[in-house]
Assembly symmetry: C2
Homo-oligomer: 344 residues x 2
DNA sequence: TTGTACGCGTTATCAA
DNA sequence: TTGATAACGCGTACAA
């Protein structure tokens, strides 16, 4: 309806110039108290609102940051975004969300798009693996800070916030060993992403350091998906010597495995213990509740945002980068608490 | 590092003017085939990318839409955003997310901020109630389309996409009656938002139309929260004649109630049936799995986005608005399926 | 203390 | 077909 009011409208009304109005609005010292007051009042009365776009074009800072995730409605990612937004909004930034649908081509497109939109930085959980990082090398040349979270790439001078996936795998496995489990299987996501390899390595090391043999037959490759978990459990239970526990790199896969075990009337945790990864919300409500490795996603988002802020604030001075590794937190629930060990 | 290349850089290199470059880049017919080809080639070689900010300032269209939700990491809202993003991204729009933390002051601030950022529209699930809608009246005068989803306000000429909450309440209650439940209680969120009142009304009407008495003692006001649900169940079960079923307006509240019933060793669904609302992901994984009214959030987001698109495309022609009401889908699970009625 | 003039990167209008 | 110029709204040297 009504045209938006600009500083020129205010200037005209007051018979002064737009520059003066601008100064009044920006706490510029070079202005008299009275004109400042006058400007502020009429600005309010005319319902003036600054056009961030014009400011962005002028200053080269859009005060927008791009966030790139596979899907926004996965609890893990939406929680990270929650953290990012909570941290950045008070600093005057807006968060632009894009989804890749785990499609690498789409991811590259999204990044280009965000760059065209002149975002001041990009926070990303990549679907790429370290094998194909040419696209990022080229994009790296731009001046905008790039921060990886959760899924990172090994590019020099790039910031990242991840959790210690190795430790997560180690802790989960150690916990199962402590419960008395002897034949621990592992559901391993083998989509080429390093974090799953690190979890696997933590699993292996925990086994061998506890004097248990590492049995490759017990490691089932799968994708993060209920159906795959079911099939994995089937394969495991049909082995000559089936396992007595599962550490899964994904809660969703574990869910399918549990359905299968349930069909076999195997009692969890008494006959079989399981631990998942990600601490998806549903794990705590299931019966039995499922132990899982928590990744503190909101915290992770906040820290990623903080790293971004440090980086923009110092961008003129020196090229800084930072690699933060958060500790995983094993949440122990019923699915891995044998009666004999029960806490209370 | 390297400065961003503009159309001037291309123009200089080719000894033509920026205007010509612009025409070449925008498929303007008033240009020769050869210069066009030349421009396109050198643009590619110089790695030129259009600055959306400048275009936005010039055209008055930022190609950004603002989305306002209480918390982005609630499954329901993140799924709606998923739908919005899926629909809008292919049309060249970016989605800017803001959270209100269910704080009405913050919501108003967020809207102002988005407007300053020159978004082309705002999609919002409001925390306001119909009692205080002055802020919206003022903001309504702006030219940007405003679309409410899920939680709407009664403002004339405003678009909205909601579900039929009355029907949802009715269906849930009818289903419980069909299961043979006689004394159906209701956990009612009374934060002033209309959609909860409509669910309550559906509940009432289903009762009376089935010849069951409406008993105000069976309606417990609460906030959407586990702890409150627990207390509500306690109050209900201490009544002289306790209920034999609960229809809850919120899955979270129902969760608390179930914990309490579990403590009383009341068997669900044999002794007591429950139906929730929202179809939160955890409802399907619990034991027993919980029946709930699904709101098709992804679908809702997509439709909200479509309404927005219709509105921007016709904004010059005529002021259009649209109120879409989606049907709720009752998902029947174990928590409300008595053995005698079991399906298969 | 205020005004003048310019530039951020683009496109649209007019003139050539 | 191409060039010159203005405009979008703002902030800021520089001049007054």
């Amino acid at each position: 309806m009504s045209k938006k009011t600009t500083i020129y409208d205010i200037a005209n009304k007051l018979n002064i110039t737009a520059a003066t109005v601008s100064r009044a609005l920006n706490n510029n010292p070079r202005i008299s108290a009275e004109t400042k007051k006058l400007v502020l009042e009429t600005a309010a009365s005319m319902n003036y609102k600054q056009n961030r776009l014009a400011l962005a074009l002028k200053s080269g800072k859009s005060k927008n940051v791009g966030v790139v995730v596979p899907y926004i409605n996965r609890s893990f990612f939406s929680s990270i975004i929650r953290g990012i937004e909570d941290e950045l909004y008070p600093k005057g930034y807006h968060v632009i969300i894009t989804q890749t649908h785990d499609d690498q081509k789409r991811e590259v497109k999204n990044i280009q798009n965000l760059l065209n939109a002149q975002v001041d930085g990009i926070l990303i959980s990549t679907s790429h693996t370290n094998k194909e990082l040419e696209h990022f090398e080229s994009v790296l040349k731009k001046n905008v800070p790039f921060i990886f979270f959760d899924r990172k790439l090994n590019i020099p001078d790039m910031s990242s916030v991840t959790i210690d996936d190795y430790q997560g795998g180690y802790d989960a496995t150690q916990h199962l060993i402590d419960q008395g489990c002897k034949r621990i299987a592992h559901l391993h996501v083998d989509n080429g992403q390093e974090l799953y390899e690190r979890r696997l390595q933590g699993y292996k090391d925990a086994l061998t350091q506890n004097g248990l043999a590492y049995n490759p037959e017990y490691v089932i490759p799968l994708i993060s998906d209920m159906e795959a978990g079911k099939e994995a459990a089937e394969r495991l239970m049909q082995l000559p010597v089936p396992p007595d526990a599962i550490f899964s790199s994904t809660d969703n896969g574990l869910l399918g495995a549990l359905k299968y075990l349930q069909g076999l009337e195997i009692k969890v945790p008494d006959d079989f213990c399981v631990v998942g990864f990600s601490n998806e919300p549903f794990t705590q409500f299931m019966d039995p509740s499922i132990s899982s490795v928590d990744q503190s996603p909101v915290e992770m988002g906040k820290i990623a945002a903080q790293v971004f802020l440090e980086q923009v604030e110092n961008s003129e001075v020196i090229k800084v980068h930072k690699n933060v590794v958060l500790p995983p937190r094993l949440i122990i629930r019923k699915s891995s608490t044998k009666k004999i060990n029960e806490l209370k």
